[in-house]
């Protein structure tokens, strides 16, 4: 039960974060969205053995963490469920690709191990980039950016509603499980026999609730369009931030920067 409350307050604190007053928060959402997509595309495009080059990509999330004054530990805690999951990708690579490609001291590293680590780093960087976008941009702003890219209204409305409903449904789940546990004292969790009716109740009530919430949104002027309330005027930073970053990321991808740096020390 308290897990549900935890989940709700987690979403709430993330949302509060996204509405913060910081520099990154105030940037135009379209620039941030495009930059995030660009970052993910570049990251994913690294060949499967080029771990050193890939690691230089971390400069972007690192910079955003610093500039936006976000806590890295907090991010890891929030992503504690997702990160291990995405790290599973490539876990089988070491079994298929056993040719040694690199030796560290006396240790021979096989292509499989290297490509596994590369994949994991890619996955972690991708998730971090997504997290940074969400932590610095309210969902309405992201939807506004999607609309500016001419994504159909249906799509953005669904994105927004899912986001809104998650908390509403969690709250509903909390009410139901609380009512259950009050009448089943001393019981841990919910007995499997009660799952059917409980889920049925939850579904019905959630649908009811979802309809009510949608009505309430319509009454308060929600049309599926997202007005540019926050920062209506485009400022130089709105363009400079994404463009400069894209150039940096592109340079890191195209030129062997790590070996240059390595050469400096030889």
């Amino acid at each position: 039960m308290s897990k549900i409350s935890d989940a709700i307050s987690e979403i709430q604190s993330l949302e509060a974060l996204s509405r913060g007053p910081g520099f990154v928060n105030r940037l135009h959402p379209l620039g941030k969205l495009l930059l995030t997509v660009f970052f993910i595309a570049v990251t994913v495009s690294f060949p499967k053995y080029s771990l050193p080059g890939l690691i230089t990509m971390a400069v972007y999330p690192a910079a955003v963490f610093l500039v936006a004054d976000l806590s890295f530990g907090e991010a890891l805690r929030r992503l504690r469920v997702v990160l291990p999951l995405v790290c599973v990708v490539g876990i089988l690579n070491p079994f298929f690709d056993r040719t040694p490609v690199l030796t560290i001291g006396t240790l021979a590293v096989s292509g499989g191990v290297l490509s596994m680590v590369t994949l994991m780093v890619k996955a972690v960087l991708t998730v971090l980039a997504g997290y940074l976008l969400i932590a610095t941009t309210p969902i309405e702003e992201i939807c506004r950016a999607l609309r500016l890219l001419h994504l159909p209204k249906v799509f953005t409305v669904v994105v927004l509603l899912i986001y809104r409903y998650v908390t509403v449904l969690l709250a509903e789940a909390r009410r139901i499980t609380q009512a259950y546990s009050l009448r089943a004292p001393g019981q841990k969790g919910v007995a499997w026999k009660a799952w059917g009716p409980l889920l049925g109740q939850m579904l019905l009530r959630s649908m009811d609730r979802a309809e009510g919430v949608y009505d309430a949104m319509l009454l308060r002027g929600f049309t599926g369009e997202f007005a540019a309330g926050r920062e209506a005027k485009l400022r130089p930073a709105d363009i400079l931030w994404p463009v400069v970053w894209m150039l940096i990321l592109l340079a890191l991808r195209l030129f062997p920067v790590t070996s240059w740096i390595g050469n400096l020390f030889v």
Binding site: S5, I8, S9, I11, Q12, E15, A16, R19, E140, R164, T167, V168, A171, R174, R209, G212, V213, D215, A216, M217, L218, L219, R220, G221, F222, T223, A227, A228, G229, R230, E231, A232
Partner: protein, 244 residues
């Protein structure tokens, strides 16, 4: 002070192919009136209020708010003028904090952020819950939720507010507090409630809905003292009257 009035003529509405819930209803509400809407359970009070903010189409007859006809294409305008407080606060509040929820409507109407902030300040002030701005919706009591719901619609500075069963699930203290807040608000008010004491305390005029029509209409005092009338429609005179 607003100068809004409402004319309803021959309003008829049914859910799907069912029996009409509203059946040839006529009502005129003048500027700055507060009208209590009473009637037995299932008489159509909620349906009536929801219809006025465009949640039930199609209907026949006409509804005009300040000469603007209620139609799909006038909805944005009408919803800016009329605020509706749901019976169920949990549907009304869907953002994460009170402040965010109150800001939702002005943001949708594209107001600049400093104006939004001002609207939020004013709305919270009006219902005396400025201290709850950053509080999470899920940590509010029933009474606080009701006041927060009211604030979420006041932030659009409506000329008319509709409240559906506002006292359901309120304890006496919160109920008194709500009466005070509503009485401080000097625009048109339509309040549907089976809580006749509450209507007594907030509305100068009362209309009784039965069989889809206005069965009685007059000063609240006159309607409430008409015990035969109330009894005929399954209602009980307010406690504050019987005690005297």
């Amino acid at each position: 002070m607003s100068h809004i009035h409402m004319d309803i003529e021959n309003l008829t509405f049914a859910y799907g192919a069912g029996e009409p819930v509203l059946n040839g209803l006529n009502l005129h509400v003048a500027e700055d009136e507060s009208v209590g809407i009473i009637g037995a359970n299932g008489a159509g009070k909620s349906t009536f209020l929801r219809l006025l903010v465009g949640l039930h189409f199609p209907f026949s007859g006409s509804v005009r708010i300040e000469e603007i006809p209620l139609e799909k294409k006038t909805l944005a305008k009408i919803r800016e003028k009329i605020g509706f407080v749901f019976q169920d606060s949990d549907s009304q509040l869907f953002m994460t904090t009170v402040g965010e929820d109150v800001a939702f409507a002005p943001r949708n109407y594209g107001l600049p952020e400093d104006e939004v902030k001002k609207r939020v300040d004013d709305a919270l002030e009006k219902v005396h819950i400025s201290h709850l701005r950053d509080k999470s919706i899920y940590r509010l009591s029933g009474g606080e939720k009701k006041l927060a719901s009211l604030a979420t619609i006041l932030s659009l500075t409506p000329d008319m507010i509709l409240l559906d069963e506002p006292t359901v699930a309120l304890d006496p203290r919160n109920r008194r507090n709500l009466i005070k807040v509503i009485n401080e608000y000097d625009h048109v008010k339509l309040i549907a409630s089976h809580d006749l004491d509450f209507i007594w305390d907030t509305c100068a005029r009362t209309v009784l809905i039965a069989s889809g029509k206005i069965a009685a209409d007059g000063p609240t005092e006159q309607i409430m003292r008409d015990e035969a009338l109330l009894q005929r429609y399954g209602l009980e005179s307010p406690l504050s009257l019987t005690k005297r």
